[in-house]
Amino acid sequence: MMCDPRLGCPPPVERLYGYVPNASDVSYLTTVSLRRHPFYPKGLLHRTTSSRGFPEERVRNFSIVAHVDHGKSTLADRLLETTGVIEEGRQVLDHLPVERERGITVKAQSASMVHLHRGHRYLLNLIDTPGHVTSATKCLALWQPLRELCYWWMLNRVFKLKLWLISCSPLRQTSQLFLSSTRLIFLSPTLRESMSSYTTSLDSVLKRAYSPSGSRDKPLCVLLFDSWYDHYRGVVCVVAVKDGSIGVGDEVSSYHTGLSYEVAEVGLLQTKRVPIPRLYSGQVGYVLLGMRNSTEAHVGDTFYHTGSKVTPLPGFIAAKPMVFAGFYPMDQSEYPVLRTALEKLTLNDSSVSVFQDSSVALGQGWRLGFLGLLHMDVFRQRLEEEFDASILVTTPSVPYKVVFRDGSEQTFLNPAQFPEEVYTVEEFREPVVLGTLVTPDEHLGKLLSLCQDRRGVQQELVYMDQSKVLLKYTLPLSEVVIDFNDQVKSLSSGYASFDYEEHGYEPAPLVKLDVMLNGRVVDALASVVHRDKAYSTGKTICGKLKDNIHRQLFEVAIQAAIGKRIIARETVKALRKNVTAKCYGGDITRKMKLLRKQKEGKKKMKQIGNVELSKDAFLSVIQR
């Protein structure tokens, strides 16, 4: 072992160099110090074959919580550099292309590092949390029962705290997250930039964080807090061991699914998997259970030795989808490609709910549920990039019910199934949910307006304490599936929370909104809407078509109608001039190419009577 405990703690960097280095010096210094310094040789843990030598009092688990973009992953990388786990300058914890591009973390991971302090080696586990709102809340709530996760808050330069959880009083935050007993470290901007501070910061983690409270001697109790799919080994489960120890060959079971597995591999995560024989209580790492399907790995699940008794850890969260969208292949011929892509990607992301769906115009597809708009966007980007799929994302539909005069009922999803003979209909029904909102009172007004706007009916309004309000509203599902949750978050700067549960069906005056071009109905653009929303929806559709239908030989009259009644209308003027001014020798080749392209373009258009409808115009209406 390179590190000699008798030499004591390494001197602060200022003493080595005679001054406090600034930010631009950091990577240079890291290089120099890591190479020359005897205390932090590289790859410390790669040579360690066991974590048995780290009892609970020598283990600390901590997490960095910060708003998207606040450099949390950079900080994490600097810490890994400081402790010799990685080479300087590499950004390691965000590894998906979409993560690098958007500068966000999608998957949470942990990284273990060894920190030397006063002659003792400590195993510090950094839990990387996703920065965007929904997942971070869930992550933190998950760890709460373990009570030993130290949170490291990041503040930005001018103390204008953009941190989504911070307010003027940190205690308020902690009470909201039920973290009253958890230790917090605040990281100020100046600290962030100097290298010696990283060492100091790690020291603070040691001092301020609780050591894990479990015991090796108790029966095994393991928390699963993340997973991903590895092509060769199956599902990799990221775990924190509360009690006991888990090793290769152990038989374990999941408390929530009831399934059993044999442990194939156990180890620490240090930007890659480092296998060791056993993980002990208080330690964080990964296990390979031979799991083939990532739907079996539920975040918050508890694992224990098969046959023994266990009290499951609280905090098991079933991800509830908040945003829905229709996902269709651009062309029905690409349906198999998209289906395979979806299967593969959902293996890796079990928080996406998948339902089959179909549409008159687009054929077969799916309705997918996501945790939020960002989740949906990232998912779509991954489908397009990693699987080369071309996708159409549409506003989702909800299943409506119609009750006929003769008593029979029918559920329909498609506007095409809207009953033609309206006189046979007794009433229509739409699905509703019971939504629960918890918000600080300063955002109450905005949220009440939002619910009002979305045809919500207030069921309850209660002050939980001086400043926090609980709201219960029944809301039509159709008003919730698009972006309700994201609106709630944005109107309340992230402070309010929203949850919902199904609440049956309620009567609603529904109508079928038709779209006509020069008098001809375009089936593919029809939709079913609540009567009150018909006018605004119709107007929006007509507007989008007007902007996207190209001028043609004849005037195009765009109309939105309910039955025979026209409720909105726009016009696209006829084309008056479309001719190439010059046509001499040098122009001819180019002009022929242009005309040929125009002809090809025409072939791709759909002919509705005498109106040419391009794919883009069509998409402008149905796409999200």
Binding site: R576, K577, N578, T580, C583, T589
Partner: protein
């Protein structure tokens, strides 16, 4: 191979004193030092083609560019000499030179007449000084009128002027005034072009960025209609979509294009259509010069394409098969007021147009864009305005 049919000859002069912001032709400012070597290369190319094609009959010559009038008149004289040596120039051939109103001097004009130029095309564009500035032209309206009169006085009888409409900031009154002044000048031939914003030009960038207003397409349509109406007051025949001529003054050279007849282009970026090939030369003047300097004339009697490829400056060649030739003949010919002569078409292709395009012609008639008469197919007034809608339908 010896060309049985007379061809038209186009000569490209890629030099300009300044480059207009809307121009996307193959022309350059500030390369004057290349002029001497360029003229030498041009003469070389002309000689090469003369020998390859075995001294074909040339019935029109057109000096275009760029600004041919920017070249010293001596160079024009030398080039004409090379042409008459290499080709068989018809005695009453139309020989046109494009000119900028700022370049006219009595000496130059005399020299042109002397070496065989018998038609001038003057790029006036507008009689409104403000608009001329917007267009970046280096002359004003008075210069333009003066230049015209100089040319007429020097002895040119066949003069054409170019005008532009659909310009940013141009209103209908300015256009009306330009038309009035043009009619007063009464040149034998007038071309009028709607401004097209071409990609990569400064003007397109300005409009894109918003520092120049987007030209209004409907206003341009109105201007075109106004031009049609006003020109009826003179003795002009609206013989092509963008061209008007007094009796006997139609541009013979351009008619070659519209009738889809063969033509040879020499100079950098020039386009040609011989036999069943349409081809163009390398665009860069420097490269053009370099390549011509390394040439040695080769054998004739090969298939058209192989022969053309042997000329080192040729850059892109497109082979036109009969269906395409037919479609292009329709598209180009309909631009003319004489339309597509049914007899002529039958002679060229074996059957009348209705044999090949029955459905298309029916549809166009129904849409009132085309009408079929005994002797010819012609565009209607509306068809002229919506020409591209008609033309694109002839591709299969």
């Amino acid at each position: 191979m010896s060309s049985a049919e007379p061809i038209s000859l186009y000569v490209h002069i890629p030099f300009c004193e300044t480059k207009c912001p809307y121009c996307d032709f193959n022309t350059y400012a500030a390369i004057e030092p290349l002029m001497p070597t360029y003229v030498a290369a041009l003469k070389s190319e002309i000689a090469l083609w003369g020998s390859l094609l075995d001294g074909p009959e040339v019935h029109t010559v057109f000096f275009g560019g760029g600004t041919p009038s920017y070249l010293p008149s001596e160079d024009i004289r030398h080039t004409m000499k090379a042409i008459t040596t290499a080709f068989n120039l018809a005695p009453c051939a139309e020989v046109t030179l494009e000119a900028n109103p700022g370049d006219f001097t009595a000496d130059k004009l005399a020299a042109y007449l002397d070496c065989g130029i018998n038609r001038l095309s003057i790029g006036i564009q507008s009689f409104d000084d403000d608009l001329l500035q917007t267009l970046g032209r280096r002359h004003n309206a008075a210069d333009a009128v003066h230049a015209y009169r100089q040319a007429a006085d020097a002895g040119f009888e066949n003069i054409s002027i170019d005008l532009m409409y659909g310009l940013p900031y141009q209103n209908i009154q300015q256009w009306q005034s330009t038309l009035a002044q043009a009619l007063e000048l009464a040149p034998p031939h007038i071309s009028m072009y709607c401004l097209t914003l071409e990609g990569g030009t400064p003007m397109e960038r300005w409009v894109d960025q918003g520092s120049m207003p987007t030209p209004d397409a409907d206003l341009a349509a109105d201007m075109y209609l106004m031009a049609q109406d006003e020109m009826r007051h003179g003795r002009y025949r609206h013989y092509e979509i963008s061209n008007w001529a007094q009796p006997g003054r139609r541009s013979q050279h351009n008619l070659t294009y519209w009738r889809n007849d063969p033509y040879l282009g020499v100079g950098p970026g020039a386009h040609s259509y011989l036999g069943d090939c349409r081809f163009s030369a390398i665009k860069s003047p420097r490269e053009y010069i370099r390549r011509m300097q390394s040439v040695s004339p080769d054998s004739c009697g090969e298939p058209m394409r192989a022969m053309i490829s042997s000329v080192p400056v040729v850059d892109e060649i497109e082979q036109i098969d009969t269906p395409l030739e037919m479609a292009e003949t329709m598209m180009m010919g309909l631009r003319l007021d004489e339309g597509i002569g049914i007899a002529g078409f039958k002679e060229r292709f074996g059957e009348p147009p209705s044999h090949f395009y029955a459905d298309t012609l029916d549809e166009l008639e129904r849409l009132e864009l085309l009408h079929t008469q005994e002797d010819a197919l012609r565009l209607t007034h509306r068809g002229r305005m919506l020409g591209n809608e008609v033309f694109s339908r002839f591709f299969n």
